[in-house]
């Protein structure tokens, strides 16, 4: 058990600093903790004061209507907002016992622990299937052909793409169908052997069969990964996740066990949303 000293980032620059916690967080049960995370674009908050804890080897779903900040929140778990010019993140994101937003750490190293699958398939267009899957490793200096071959087969099998591409791994990635491309992106994210997997509506471009395969993958991956998935599909959240967070207009309205959230929500707003009254 590691006691933590809380050191909110951007203390100087932010008018409202994250409040000091009085007791150290017990991190042994949690893989990832987001604490008082606020993300703003050009001064307008897209996500406000969200605190979420993600248990190791669990699947957490984030649901909510369009524009509620699910994706924005997911992206700050991987410091993807570093690339957006006027985005500002306040608060803390802990991965194990490391604050991802502390100045001392190198985000590049920690991104290798956190894989990400995006909403739209984005395989590298100039690379083959094989090169896409291995890109994270090759471009980080892994050269052993035997290891790469093994990882390619492993990752593609986990993403349920192996059978469709095993005969032609040198084929260009853009020749695959949209659904295959998305599964390729999942394989690519898995190939760097992350500990946490962030998925931003990974099945929105897939047909029902591929979606089912992906969901099976997610449930199977749970044994080795901590998975956080953004989805519009509430049935999907029920099927794959252990915990669900419901977001609305940038706030985390409710967060708890999936079963409980869908059958016996605490908040009225959540009840309305999961029963399909709006969204």
């Amino acid at each position: 058990m590691t006691a933590l000293t809380i050191n909110p980032i951007n203390m100087e620059s932010s008018p409202v600093a994250a409040p000091e916690r009085r007791t150290p967080i017990d991190i042994s049960k949690y893989k990832m903790i987001a604490e008082n995370v606020t993300v703003s674009y050009g001064g307008i908050d897209a996500v406000r004061n969200v605190t979420m804890k993600f248990k190791e080897n669990s699947v957490t779903a984030l649901i909510g209507p369009s524009g509620c900040g699910k994706t924005t929140f997911l992206r700050c778990l991987n410091r993807m907002h570093d690339m957006t010019k006027n985005a500002k993140v306040k608060g803390k994101v802990m991965l194990d016992d490391i604050d991802l937003y502390s100045k001392a750490i190198d985000p590049i190293y920690h991104r290798r622990k956190v894989g990400m699958v995006f909403q739209k398939p984005n395989p590298f267009p100039t690379m083959s299937v094989y090169d896409n899957v291995t890109s994270g490793l090759r471009l980080n200096g892994v050269k052993d052909k035997k290891i790469l071959d093994e990882i390619v087969e492993d990752s593609l099998k986990m993403a349920y793409l192996w059978d469709e591409v095993k005969n032609d791994l040198k084929k260009s990635a853009v020749e695959l169908s949209g659904g295959q491309q998305q599964r390729l992106c999942i394989a690519r994210a898995l190939a760097i052997q992350p500990e946490v997997l962030l998925m931003d509506e990974p099945a929105s471009a897939l047909d029902p069969i591929a979606t089912q395969k992906i969901e099976e993958t997610i449930i199977e991956l749970k044994n080795d990964y901590t998975i956080i998935i953004v989805t519009h599909n509430m049935q999907q959240a029920i099927r794959v996740s252990d915990y669900t967070g419901f977001m609305y207009l940038g706030d985390l309205v409710e967060f708890g066990e999936t079963k409980k959230l869908f059958t016996d929500p605490k908040e009225e707003l959540t009840a309305k949303y999961v029963q399909g009254h709006f969204g």
Partner: protein, 308 residues
């Protein structure tokens, strides 16, 4: 019919009006566009026809390989000029392309600050500079300092013309690469330079090559800066520190001579220059578009098979 349905009917009938007129406008626009293209092509075509007609009669093996004969004799050739043009294009590209590409990468990938905005503006102005000024600049800082005309000075002047063009086109083609590829690379834990050079550049390659070829074509025909730097010569290349001949210089000198035979040789030299530029363009493009399946790709594959 309720009012909303009625309004919808009105809207629909609006689209049915003036069909004949709209079709006519469509045709007129098409005709205008086509005739503008024809007008633009006529001078280009007539120049090409004129060059081919006059130039072909001048071309022979001797003309392509020999040094120039005495003025007006109609003897000799443009061998040194061809050699010089190839040398100066190659040398300028070796200097200008890497600097231009790197500047383009800076402007596109790190260009979100005041320094980059300043450089971008300066670069755009630089691109429009009259080439003779760059020639004078090279003359002042290299030729005058060293005390003699030289190939280096010419390559320096031409690479100055080249690099803003390459920088601008590189920047534009890198910006065309969707952010999602950079995001994917970032999420894989790749360093920024790896993402830029291994992912983004390879996706932007064809645009960058177009820019580089554009700049090669541009410097291939430059005359003014060469007058100030390599001067011209009637001998083959001897050293980097002596004057050298180049096709634009030779064309210029030949066309100034009052002899029909010299002017005919000028036409021939112009034809050779056009063919060299065309050849470089087609060759590079063919090499890159057919890298895997084309002639070169097949050669590489075969060699790989043999070595296995």
């Amino acid at each position: 019919m309720n009012p909303i349905q009625q309004r919808r009917q009105e809207y629909r009938s609006l689209f049915k009006q003036n069909v004949a007129k709209r079709l006519l406008v469509d045709k007129v626009v098409k005709i205008i566009v086509f005739s503008c293209v024809i007008i633009a092509i006529i001078p280009l075509g007539s120049i090409l026809i004129e060059v081919f007609k006059n130039g072909l009669t001048a071309i022979s093996i001797e003309f392509l390989t020999e040094t120039p004969g005495s003025a007006g004799s109609g003897e000799g050739g443009i061998g040194p000029a061809i050699q010089g043009t190839l040398i100066i294009i190659g040398l300028s590209s070796i200097i200008g392309v890497p600097i231009g590409v790197m500047s383009g990468v800076f402007l596109s990938e790190y260009g979100d600050n005041a320094l980059a905005r300043f450089i971008r503006f300066f670069n755009d102005v630089f691109m429009e500079f009259p080439s003779i000024i760059l020639g004078i600049f090279a003359f002042l800082i290299i030729v005058l300092v060293l005390g003699h005309f030289s190939v280096w000075a010419g390559a320096f002047a031409l690479s100055l013309i080249m690099f803003p063009i390459v920088a601008r086109t590189t920047e534009e083609s890198l910006k065309m690469v969707p952010m999602t590829y950079r995001e994917a690379g970032t999420a894989l834990g790749l360093k920024k330079w790896v993402i830029t050079f291994r992912i983004v550049i390879s996706a932007a390659k064809s645009g960058m090559i177009t820019g580089i070829l554009l700049s090669v074509s541009r410097i291939g025909g430059e005359t003014a800066p060469l007058i100030m730097t390599v001067l011209g010569s009637s001998q083959f290349f001897s050293s980097m520190d002596t004057p050298m001949d180049a096709l634009p210089l030779r064309i210029w000198r030949l066309s100034l001579l009052p002899y029909d035979s010299a002017q005919l040789q000028g036409w021939g030299a112009a034809l050779v220059l056009i063919m060299i530029i065309l050849g470089i363009n087609l060759g590079v493009r063919y090499y890159f578009t057919n890298k895997k399946n084309g002639f070169f790709g097949q050669l590489i594959k075969q060699r790989k098979k043999i070595t296995k």
